[in-house]
Amino acid sequence: MSGMSWALAALSAALTAFLAGILLSATPKHQRRLVCALLLLSALAALAAGLAGLLSAPGEVRLPIGLPWLAMHFRLDALGGFFLLVLGLLLGATALYSVGYLRQLGSQRNLTPLYIFLPLFVIGMQGVMLADDAYTFMVFWELMSVASYFLVTFEHEQDGHRKAGFLYLLMAHLGGMLILGGFAILYAAGGSFEFDAMRAAALTPLWASLAFLLAMSGFGMKAGMMPLHAWLPDAHPAAPSNVSALMSGIMIKVAIFGFLRMIWDLIGLQQAHWWWGGLVLVIGSTSAVGGILFALQQNELKRVLAYSSVENIGIIAIGLGLGMIFAHYNYPSLAALGLVAALYHSLNHAMFKGLLFMGAGAVMHGAHSCDMGQLGGLIRRMPRTAALFLIGCISISALPPFNGFVSEWLTFQAALMAPQLQGTLLSALIPFSAAMLALAGALAAACFVKVFGIVFQGTPRSPAAAEAREANAWMQIGMAIPAALCLLLGIFPAWMLPLIDAVPKALIHAELGASATGNAWLWLTPIAQERASYSPLIVLMALLLAGCTFLVIHYRYGKKRRTEPWSCGHPHLNPRMQYTAAAFSQPLRRIFSDLYQPQDKLLRSDHGHTLLVKRLRYQVHVQDLLWRHLYLPVKRFSEWLTQRIDWLHHRPIHGYLAFTFVTLLLLLGLLL
């Protein structure tokens, strides 16, 4: 069975799921099982298709729908294949997770909209990866946006969710329009909506740059790159957790896919200017550091995860930017390295971010809150979830031997192995971005120590957290799969890279040095043995070895005594004496206060004398810098404009006639 037919199978399975969602709305139980099962099938098919796309030659198919003179073109190539692979992996896990998750959610409300729009969302994403003409691409792209909007506003009773949904759809629409503009330019040059014609099209430098900027901003908006990320931290938390996992895990990667498809593939890097890569690099670095900095200041679990998605997109963008720069100064194998690093990080991020969002969902169900101020000590009530979540935290903090480290390591290699480039600007930019990458990594570690420490460790901060229930089996399976993959991808990157290497081969006709793949399976040597190498397996072995030796000691003197912790002589510790989330990030808030501009207030009441304190309450609020300085001004301006326009519509009838009259005079005036 060819890759293309697998892909179509995936699409049709999702479509069936959509129909099932509509038809079975009467019997929620069957609805849930059938939809999840079909989604699982779709995921498996997508997985197969992805592998086929990476391994075998591209396949095409045309469906007789769409524009009259343009049948819908589908094409499965290495690039699309890779992202289908990512989708398949995470979607499968999420489908399993949803079986359990939605059972609990379904007890509270009618889930039919979810069952209708979730498959649509999946169809949209798969379709984008398969599209081979601009029209098809845009159709599925927008379908993805709309469907996910309805998923974000699923719990629309809550004010915040509606606001988030609106902002999301608005920005999605704007982004779509920009992308459309980009395609329009290519259409004007190539004379056809088919991607082949667009590839062939030769653009003037100006038009090429315009197309690049349009695509950059359009896809950047969807991917949540820093200046355009405002929707992301609101929208992802609003959606149900399994959806957030898909949105953060895959949807923003689809944006990366679109970026690659349009800029690397259609416009083509041979038409690139030197500053394109530079721009991507700068935006990437900004998102990486900015995203994690704001993630550190969030006290709501899912918001933290959302902001950290911004960070990871930034890391991916750094890889892409490096690739573009190298490609422009034609160091093809280095360009390939940058691209591979970016792709590998996309895969990894899909895994651990999916895992973490599912974990957040489990916490939400277990302790009925995602507010860190209400959580704590969950590791004792829900140990398995905790263990899995910990794996996610370690991976996302880029620590060996898990996968996050590998992709960041590759990115570092790409940045460090840079030969000197013409133009000191770039050669200064690249190490700078490397520094930002390092900073982001370290901050991420801090952030996720905070997350895990506050949510799962310590003692419960609320009765609900004290009564937390462990997630059910389905959810645990759903989380276990990406967790396992995090480890495997961390230990056997040398098996994954040859697969990914097909993408640069197809896109820029370059691949990693033979050493990368020719080498023994336990060595990861992107460029050359003497330059840099990393053997996760040996690291793991060494860790285990050292660990084991001391486990021996552990069992030799097995016995230990338990007592209550030291409390400086204070009679008893209570949960409110723990460090809170806000407290944990206080030093950083102090260091980066110019960036955060935190608004804090101290409410105190006393018994008549300042020393006789009754109660103290400290509140601090950190608002997104760009929100205040970029988005609000735009909003205000447009509001002002609408008010001016409104004047037109509150005139007496003479006024209306006067409009007609003046228009007439003006038109006639043209003739003078």
Partner: protein, 487 residues
């Protein structure tokens, strides 16, 4: 009598009959039946034209070509569904005492008269008669807009009457000017106003006069299209009239006015080879788009809101026809179709929403999906469709329009994108809270008839997914025609 006469006669006869018995409960059935008959006729005619090419009747007094026969069938279709929708709707209105039986009679009679005006305008071959038809439609709808006799309704109707009256008068002046030059080319009789003849002899018409004439026609018919800044009558008329009328105003009247303008444009282009006419239309189109997009944000009344969206979309179509390349014309025609379908569907939904909530004030309409899922989702889907999200047809036409615009006039694209995004924001910021959220306590129960809505959206969806071959050919011939091919 042949089919063609049937097409014109049916609404006229039905109108007169309804003028007598329109107050009876049965009247609605007659209303629907008449519309259905015309629909059937229109479809057959369309088939004939597709098979055997253009067709003229009564020695060139009437004619059908690819362009207008498609509008005829569209009109017939929407007239029918609207009639179906209006039956329960108006009954409810009567039940809650907003209209008396007498008014209902007037309503039905005028409805058919209006439809007759549409057909007359679409099929006539005579610019003068075209004008008369539009005036007729205007007068008929004026009475319909003032149907509720509330102060607001009277004021709206008056505004509509005066502003459109003046506009249409200017159009007449334009027509006279055309005649003044054509009459000494083609002799002093009907031929000098017959479109086909004029189209054939466009070369010989005096450019200077034609240009001035077009200025007047632009302002005149532009008023009826609802182009900014002559649009001021439109929101009130849509807002205060009964919902079926808002639906047909948006769905049909505006189209026909645009049809008239485009017909004249082809003539003027034929006479003066500077693309001035096209440029003017593009300018008005963009202006309407932007102003309407901004105005959307400030609306309080649900029907006014969507009427502004109509202005926006008429702007888009005018822009498309102004650009005038085959692709753009194709986009314009497609957009005309899907906009009529979706927008009238939305008006049906909005009407129901207003009925169940007992108000048109959007601030009091909340949480529709909770208590009336049909209406709530209908409103959402409709808005998503009209905002141009796939897989609905509006997306297709928008997509084509954008590409066409960038092909010929790149600078317009910036404004176009801006306008579209602003319009979407303006529309959605009002619709979302109406559909979602917690509903208020008191909610009326109304017999909701969502069938027409689903039909309309279904068709729009179909057009978005796949444009059937015959329709595509149809559009393409029409597009070529508008660009100046032989009729």
């Amino acid at each position: 009598m042949n089919l063609f006469d049937l097409l014109l006669a049916t609404p006229l006869i039905a109108g007169t009959i309804l003028g007598v018995i329109g107050h009876r409960p049965r009247a609605t059935i007659l209303n629907i039946a008449a519309s259905a008959v015309t629909l059937a006729t229109a479809l057959v005619l369309a088939y004939q034209v597709l098979e055997h090419g253009p067709y003229t009747a009564h020695d060139q007094a009437f004619f059908l070509d690819a362009y207008n026969v498609f509008l005829v069938s569209l009109t017939a279709f929407i007239a029918t569904t609207t009639a179906i929708f209006s039956a329960p709707y108006m009954r409810h209105e009567q039940a809650i005492g907003r209209v008396t039986a007498e008014r209902l009679r007037l309503y039905h009679a005028m409805y058919q008269l209006f439809i007759f005006g549409m057909y007359l305008g679409l099929t006539t071959n005579n610019l003068g008669v075209l004008w008369i038809a539009l005036e007729l439609a205007t007068l008929a709808t004026v009475l319909l807009v003032s149907l509720y006799r509330t102060p607001a309704a009277i004021a709206a109707a008056w505004k509509y009457f005066i502003v459109c009256g003046v506009g249409i008068a200017l159009a007449l002046f334009g027509t006279i000017l055309i005649f003044s030059t054509s009459s000494d080319v083609l002799g002093h009789d009907n031929a000098a106003l017959t479109w086909t003849v004029l189209y054939a002899h466009a070369e010989q018409l005096a450019p200077g006069v034609m240009t001035i004439a077009f200025m007047f026609l632009m302002v005149g018919y532009g008023t009826k299209i609802g182009l900014v800044p002559m649009h001021t009558w439109l929101p009130d008329a849509h807002g205060e009239g009964p919902t079926p009328i808002s639906a047909v105003l948006s769905g049909l009247l505006l189209n026909v006015a645009l049809y008239a303008l485009v017909r004249c444009k082809t003539l003027v282009d034929g006479a003066t080879h500077d693309g001035l006419a096209g440029k003017l239309m593009m300018g008005f189109g963009l202006l309407s788009l932007l102003v309407a997009a901004l105005a959307l944000h400030r609306q309080r009344d649900i029907k006014r809101l969507f009427s502004f969206s109509s202005i926006e979309h008429m702007g888009l179509m005018t822009l498309a026809f102004g650009i005038g390349t085959p692709l753009a014309n194709f986009a314009g025609l497609l957009h005309m179709t899907v906009h009529s379908l979706v927008k009238s569907g939305i008006f049906f939904t909005a009407g129901h929403a207003a009925q169940v909530m007992g108000t048109q004030q959007m601030s009091n309409i909340r949480g529709l999906v909770r208590h009336h899922p049909g209406i709530g989702w209908g409103l959402l889907i409709g808005t998503v469709a009209i905002a141009g999200f796939p897989p609905f047809g509006v997306f297709t036409s928008k997509f084509l329009l954008l590409t066409a615009a960038l092909h010929t006039h790149p600078w317009t694209v910036v404004l176009l994108l801006l306008g579209l995004v602003l319009a979407f924001a303006g529309l959605f910021r009002h619709v979302q809270p109406m559909a979602f959220g917690i509903p208020p306590e008191q909610v009326h129960v109304a017999r909701v008839n969502m069938l027409p809505v689903y039909i309309h959206f279904g068709l729009a969806l179909w057009l978005g997914l796949a444009i059937p071959g015959f329709l595509a050919d149809w559009y393409q011939t029409a597009a070529a025609l508008l660009q100046g091919a032989a009729p």
